[in-house]
C-alpha cells in the first residue's frame, strides 16, 4: 500500500468522527460539513509531503474548527448570535462518545426529506469522506451537479429541523431501513460491468461494503444490516468472473467459478447462516441466502434450485415486487421445467409494473430457449435488447439472440 493510499484510507475512516465531534461542539451540520471537507482536502495535500501528524484526528479537528470559524465569519448575519460558541476552543479529539457519531451521521444523511439521489451524494461525502470530485467521477455526473446535490441536501436537512442525534426508538427501524437502502444503491451503482473508466473511479462497491461493515459494528444485533453485508459480499465475490476478457457480461451459467473470491464467499456464508439462525427474517437476509446458494454450487449444474425456489417463495411473502416475481419464475422453470415457468410468466405479465418491461422479454426468451423454441427465443432476446437501459445487458441480450440465428 502506497503512502498516499494509506493516508486516503485513514482520512476516510476519520471523516465521520471528525464531523461528529464538530457538530456536537458547535451545531450547524452544514457549515461543519464544509469545514471538515476542507480539512480533509488540506490533509490530503500536506500529509504526503510533511508526514502524518502524531494525532491525525486531533489535527483534522483543529484545522476543521479553524476553517469553521472562517466560514462563519463570512456569514456576518450570524455573527452576534453565535459569537460566544464559535470562538470556543476546538473539541477534545477523544471525547467519551455519548452515542456513536458515525451511526448518527448515516441516519442524518439518509433523512426522509431528501431524494435517494441526494442521500447517496451526501452519505458518500459526509460519512465516506470522499471529495465532491471523487463522487462525481464515481457517479458519472459533473462535479457541479454533485456539489449542488450536497448543498441542497444540507439546506433541506436544516429546514426540516433535524437534529444531530439518533431518532426516537419508534422511528429508528424505519430510519435504519433508509440507510440500508442508500448503502444498497451505492453498492449497485458501483456494481458495473464497464471496465474502461474504472481506473479513475472510486470503487463504490468497496465503499458500500466498508460503510455497511461500519454500520454492522454499531448494530451487531440487526439481522437486516448483517443480511445486507452478506448480500454485498456474496455478490461482489463473483465480480472477477462476471465479465469476459472483452468486457461482455457473463451469466452465472458461463462464469469461471475458480475466479470467485472464496474468502468473501466464506465470510458471507458464515454471516448469513448465523444471522438466519438468530435474527427475525427480512428481505436482505433472504436475498443473501439466495446468493449464498448460488455461490456454494461448485458448478452451475450443481445449483440447488429447489432451495432457491423455496427462498424466492419466502422473499415474495416478505418483500413482494416485480423483479422478485420474475426471478422466482426463473427458479420455477429450473425446478419444474420451462413450460411451468412460461405459464406463470403469462400470469405475471398482467401486473402493470411488469407490462412491457424488457425483463419479461428476457425471461421469456430464456425459457423459450430452454424449451427448444429457438426462433421465438431469438425474437424475445432481440426485443429485450432493444428496450433495456443497460449497455452491458444489451450487449449480452444481443449476443444471445445472435447465437440463436439459424
Amino acid at each position: 500500500v502506497s503512502t498516499a493510499t494509506a493516508i486516503e484510507g485513514l482520512l476516510r475512516e476519520l471523516a465521520p468522527e471528525v464531523l461528529g465531534a464538530l457538530v456536537r461542539r458547535y451545531g450547524g451540520f452544514d457549515t461543519c460539513e464544509d469545514a471538515v471537507q476542507e480539512a480533509l482536502l488540506a490533509a490530503a495535500v500536506q500529509w504526503p509531503k510533511d508526514g502524518v501528524p502524531e494525532n491525525p484526528k486531533g489535527w483534522l479537528i483543529r484545522v476543521a474548527s479553524r476553517r469553521r470559524i472562517e466560514l462563519w465569519r463570512q456569514d456576518s448575519a450570524r455573527r452576534r448570535r453565535e459569537e460566544t460558541v464559535a470562538l470556543e476552543a476546538p473539541p477534545d479529539p477523544e471525547p467519551a462518545p455519548v452515542e456513536d457519531d458515525t451511526l448518527t451521521l448515516l441516519v442524518l444523511c439518509c433523512h426522509p426529506s431528501l431524494t435517494p439521489i441526494s442521500q447517496v451524494a451526501l452519505t458518500l461525502r459526509a460519512v465516506g469522506g470522499l471529495t465532491t470530485a471523487e463522487i462525481a467521477r464515481a457517479l458519472l455526473v459533473p462535479e457541479a451537479t454533485v456539489a449542488q446535490r450536497i448543498s441542497r441536501a444540507k439546506q433541506r436537512i436544516k429546514a426540516s429541523g433535524a437534529e444531530f442525534q439518533m431518532p426516537p426508538e419508534a422511528k429508528r427501524s424505519e430510519r435504519i431501513a433508509a440507510v440500508l437502502h442508500v448503502l444498497y444503491l451505492i453498492f449497485n451503482e458501483g456494481y458495473t460491468a464497464s471496465s474502461g473508466s474504472r481506473l479513475h473511479r472510486v470503487e463504490l462497491t468497496s465503499e458500500a461494503i466498508r460503510l455497511t461493515r461500519q454500520l454492522r459494528e454499531r448494530l451487531p444485533e440487526d439481522g437486516e444490516v448483517a443480511g445486507l453485508l452478506a448480500l454485498m459480499l456474496l455478490t461482489d465475490a463473483r465480480r472477477p468472473a462476471r465479465t469476459s476478457a472483452d468486457g461482455a457480461l457473463l451469466p452465472l451459467a458461463e462464469q469461471d467459478r475458480s475466479l470467485w473470491d472464496a474468502e468473501a464467499i466464506a465470510e458471507g456464508v458464515e454471516l448469513i447462516t448465523e444471522t438466519l439462525a438468530t435474527a427475525p427474517i427480512g428481505p436482505y437476509q433472504v436475498q443473501a441466502a439466495i446468493a449464498a446458494v448460488h455461490d456454494e454450487a461448485a458448478g452451475f449444474e450443481d445449483t440447488d434450485w429447489p432451495q432457491i425456489l423455496a427462498l424466492y417463495d419466502l422473499l415474495q411473502k416478505v418483500a413482494p415486487g416485480p423483479m422478485v416475481t420474475l426471478n422466482r419464475i426463473v427458479a420455477v422453470a429450473m425446478v419444474h421445467g420451462p413450460l411451468a415457468g412460461l405459464e406463470q410468466l403469462a400470469e405475471a405479465e398482467a401486473d402493470p409494473a411488469l407490462a412491457g418491461h424488457h425483463r419479461v422479454d428476457a425471461v421469456r426468451a430464456h425459457l423459450l430457449d430452454m424449451a427448444g423454441d429457438h426462433e421465438a427465443a431469438r425474437t424475445h432476446f432481440r426485443e429485450a435488447a432493444r428496450r433495456t437501459l443497460s449497455v452491458p445487458e444489451q450487449r449480452y441480450l444481443e449476443s444471445r439472440a445472435t447465437r440463436l440465428e439459424p
Binding site: 431524494t115 435517494p116 439521489i117 441526494s118 451524494a121 458519472l140 455526473v141 459533473p142 457541479a144 451537479t145 454533485v146 449542488q148 446535490r149 450536497i150 441542497r152 441536501a153 449497485n188 451503482e189 458501483g190 456494481y191 458495473t192 460491468a193 464497464s194 473508466s197 455478490t235 463473483r238 462476471r242 457480461l249 457473463l250 451469466p251 452465472l252 428476457a362 437501459l389 443497460s390 449497455v391 452491458p392 445487458e393 444489451q394 449480452y396 441480450l397
Partner: protein, 123 residues
C-alpha cells in the same frame, strides 16, 4: 436515472417565436432561465444547451478516409432539434414533470428519452 429532454422546433413554433414582441420573448427566456436554475439548484441538471440555427449545421461524411463536410441538415426536416436538457432524477414521472415546464410542450415538440447506463444487474 438519466434522461434527455429534447426540444424541437417546427415551422409553426418558429413562426410564433418570430411574431413575438420583445416582452413576450423576454418572458420565454425567463421561463427557460428559471427552469435551468431550479434544476441546477436541485442537483438534477447535468447540462442544458440551446442549439444554434439549423442553417449553421454541417453534415459530416467520411468516404475512403476523407472527411467531407456539407452545409445544412441531412434532410429537409421540418422538425429540428433546437435544444436539450440532460438531467438525472428519480424516475420517468419526475422527468416528465420537468419536461412539462418547457414552453414548447404546448406545441407537442418536447420528448423525454431515458439514457443508457453502464451498470447492469446480473443476467
Amino acid at each position: 436515472m438519466k434522461y434527455m429532454i429534447l426540444i424541437h422546433s417546427n415551422p409553426q413554433s418558429r413562426g410564433i417565436w418570430d411574431g413575438f414582441t420583445d416582452a413576450q420573448r423576454a418572458e420565454g427566456y425567463a421561463e427557460y432561465a428559471a427552469l435551468g436554475e431550479d434544476l441546477a439548484s436541485s442537483g438534477e441538471l447535468i447540462v442544458a444547451e440551446a442549439l444554434a440555427d439549423a442553417s449553421l449545421t454541417k453534415t459530416v461524411t467520411v468516404t475512403d478516409g476523407k472527411t467531407i463536410p456539407s452545409d445544412g441538415p441531412f434532410a429537409e426536416s421540418k422538425e429540428l432539434l433546437a435544444g436539450f436538457f440532460l438531467i438525472e432524477c428519480d424516475g420517468m414521472d419526475r422527468a416528465v414533470e420537468i419536461a412539462a415546464r418547457v414552453p414548447e410542450t404546448e406545441l407537442g415538440l418536447v420528448e423525454v428519452r431515458p439514457i443508457m447506463q453502464l451498470s447492469g444487474d446480473d443476467v
